[in-house]
Symmetry: C2
Subunit: 145 residues, 2 copies
């Protein structure tokens, strides 16, 4: 009894893309005036939240692949938002830290970003919002604990 594929209108991968598009649109609008991209914003937010860390941890927490992070870190360094240093104990490792300029960029937009998040909560309802996050986490292979 072979099942058919769901219609593309009811496809989980496509629904995930479209939802992401809807969520990112206002965030991209906010970021357009800063000159940084959505991924660069994500990296800065992780650094602002957890402080200095090595590249491996940063890639993990920002959900970025290593090659992407290499390029993004270089871009952020050129823009003066992060610094890169070698770990003296293990010279393979790189340590990344947010600068004052980077921290300011985050701080200046936290209120606006929080307001966008509130908008989605009110669209879905607080309860649905939490349910959605829980269900999404179930699909995340890296969230097994």
């Amino acid at each position: 009894m072979s099942k058919n594929l769901p219609s593309t209108a009811r496809s989980l991968p496509i629904a995930l893309i479209r939802a992401r598009e809807g969520v990112m649109a206002p965030i991209r609008d906010m970021l357009s005036e800063t000159g940084i991209t959505e991924q660069q914003w994500r990296v800065l937010r992780v650094l602002a939240e957890y402080g200095v860390m090595d590249t491996k941890t940063l890639a993990d927490r920002s959900s970025l692949l290593f090659p992407s992070l290499t390029r993004i870190a270089a871009t952020l360094r050129d823009k003066g938002f992060v610094t890169q240093t070698r770990d003296d104990k293990d010279r393979r490792r790189q340590i990344i830290e947010i600068t004052a300029d980077g921290q300011r960029l985050i701080d200046d937009r936290t209120a606006h970003a929080a307001q966008i998040v509130e908008g989605f909560k009110s669209t879905l309802g607080e309860e649905n919002y939490e349910t959605l996050l829980d269900l999404l986490t179930l699909l995340d292979p890296g969230a097994q604990k």
Copy 2:
């Protein structure tokens, strides 16, 4: 009373990315042997489901931006999976149709793909699966009404 941003560990955009990553991983594995990408697979699936259509509609249904679709259509044409023709009534429009080869590529993998979908349903539970799709649709700006 300014609210703070949620921790990046509980961020909706990041959760969407990670969920998508988890969902796409087995699909990409399946596609790796076909030589086509996830987006190319999506375009072929839409064409297989709805039949011949113009590029604008195709872009909409596959959730792809126009510039991406231009490149993807050219790639699929070169691989012999679709044909492109001009609309005689409005020569600005382009009509795209799946070929027998393209249809076969879809048909040969429908069972496998359906099995992957079943896997996610059993991971979440049938009810949660439908709830998730509904919530994601609420975030899709193109799904109003």
